[in-house]
């Protein structure tokens, strides 16, 4: 019998990709969070965060999009959709990075804040830096890894997973969720799920990011380096928190296989999918259909999926 959980309601920003290509990230993360007593309430109105934090210091226009999102959190409090809850949870590493860096800039600069507030005169409130951007992984860590462990019903014993951090969760240092050189947060999560984290030297290497559009070949090479080094270290799967990293590492395996015929495909999971599996949640929230490298064979071999039930999860 699972302990009774008290639900906490926190505003949640999905971002565009989680409504499209990475819908399996959203489905699994929302379900896993709910299992831990976190009801993540989607902002009633939201816009794209901008995807990449603008580095130009004099182009405030680029920072309006994230500011709109912060104002929606204030509105949720005003409208009692949440009660005195100014944390905003994201799963996507890129949204997280843009939102937290913009928030940092606005908190530090009254002049920027005033300019944006003045420009956004249709808004019913102004933004003064009150919102706190939180990545789901940080929220899990603050709950305590033992709490995660308590919720596990099907420990992922014997599953060797290489955590891949990429760039956006950790850098720059003052917005990162963990040590930018020696992060452990994904390892801690994997351990509490019963899996075996596999350390490998390229876990912080850039996946190639948006180069995947104009320069597939370059990204295939970068992904090949990352994936094959993880495999050499003994990994059977990769886990990440970034939809773009996941896309590059997973879907570029097609090009990798053409270029490097000896390469064996390796499944790439969002950390939330592994949580949903370990928590024993219904199979339809795993989102296993949205993958290139087939994750089902590995999971079935390990006994995490029932071979008799249809495997076409969400």
């Amino acid at each position: 019998m699972l302990p009774q959980v008290v639900m906490i309601q926190i505003p949640y920003y999905p971002g565009c990709t989680l409504k499209n290509k990475a819908s399996n990230f959203e489905t699994s993360a929302l379900a896993a969070a709910r299992a831990l007593g976190l009801e993540l309430v989607e902002l009633p109105r939201w816009n794209c965060c901008g995807a990449v934090f603008s580095l130009s210091s004099d182009d405030l226009m680029r920072h309006i999009a994230p500011t709109n999102i912060f104002l929606r959190v204030q509105e949720m409090n005003r409208d009692h959709l949440v009660e005195d809850e100014y944390r905003l949870v994201t799963f996507c590493a890129m949204c997280f990075n843009v939102l937290r860096r913009t928030n940092q800039r606005l908190r530090e600069s009254l002049e920027d804040r005033n300019k944006i507030n003045d420009f956004s005169y249709l808004e019913t409130e102004t933004y003064q830096g009150r919102v706190e951007i939180v990545h789901l992984l940080e929220l899990l860590r603050s709950m305590g890894w033992d709490k995660i462990q308590e919720r596990v019903q099907k420990p992922l014993t014997g599953l060797k997973v290489a955590p891949y951090y990429g760039c956006m969760l950790l850098r720059p240092k003052d917005v990162g969720i963990d040590d930018p050189e020696r992060p452990t947060i994904l390892e801690e999560l994997l351990r509490s799920l019963g899996a075996e984290p596999v350390d490998f030297p390229l876990k912080l290497r850039c996946c190639g990011s948006y180069q995947t559009v104009p320069n597939k070949d370059l990204v295939a090479d970068l992904a090949y380096d990352i994936l094959s080094r993880a495999q050499k270290a003994g990994a059977e799967a990769i886990t990440t928190s970034c939809p773009l990293c996941a896309f590059n590492l997973d879907f570029r395996q097609k090009e990798i296989q053409q270029k490097y015929p000896m390469f064996l495909p390796i499944p790439v999971f969002y950390f939330s999918q592994l949580m949903a599996i370990a928590f024993g949640l219904p199979q339809e929230v795993f989102g296993l259909a949205g993958h290139y490298a087939n994750p089902k064979t590995l999971l079935a071999t390990k006994g995490y999926l029932q071979a008799t039930s249809p495997l076409e999860g969400g």
Partner: protein, 237 residues
Amino acid sequence: MNELEKDMLPQAVMITIYVLSRQYHVPAGSTILTALEYAGFKLKKGVGCREGFCGACASLYRLQGDYKLHGGLGCATVVQPEMQIVQLPYTPAPKAIYHLEELEPVPEVFTQLYPELYRCLSCNTCTKICPQDLQVMDYIQAAVRGDLEQAADLSFDCIQCGLCSARCPAEITQFNVALLARRLVGKYLAKKGKYVEDRIKEVEASKFTAGYQELQDLSPEDLKKRYFERELNNLIY
């Protein structure tokens, strides 16, 4: 009528407005269109239904002591003292050519037909100028993330006046994107109303032919009588 009687007639209160930077005195309470006509402009473009539906009379104006640029429909906006006005009857805009039958209701439609959509900065300038008070940025952002239903829903009252597109710093053609979203939703995603199919069958089975014939045979006087006596509440849609 003597001079005294003339003085006792109610006088129109006149106000000063500026059209294309020239000063005119027009009756207070006029709409922009009637004020323009009072001032002697003969409107051939920038005027349409005069009922707020067609979107032909988009106007830009500024008010005294206010830096904001406002948008409004010429037929539905009342002039104010010292108002500066210009009409914008047409906004040059890219319009994608497509066959609806060959499209799918998927987010990639926008990538192919209106790729500039993704330049949206979420600055809300479009929403500020919209004379229909639509949440223009919200429907554009819905399109950005591929939510066709929300894009169609939020843009439903768009009359394609073009002001959003003229003001957009990302040079998006909001109203054409919205039109595409509504067409896709209408064709592929919206729930089909069975009553429409049923009614079409009834029309084809000549159910209403006799009724129409009866109306056509009426004299204009009798037709008017029938029109004003009709029972609105009993109409079945």
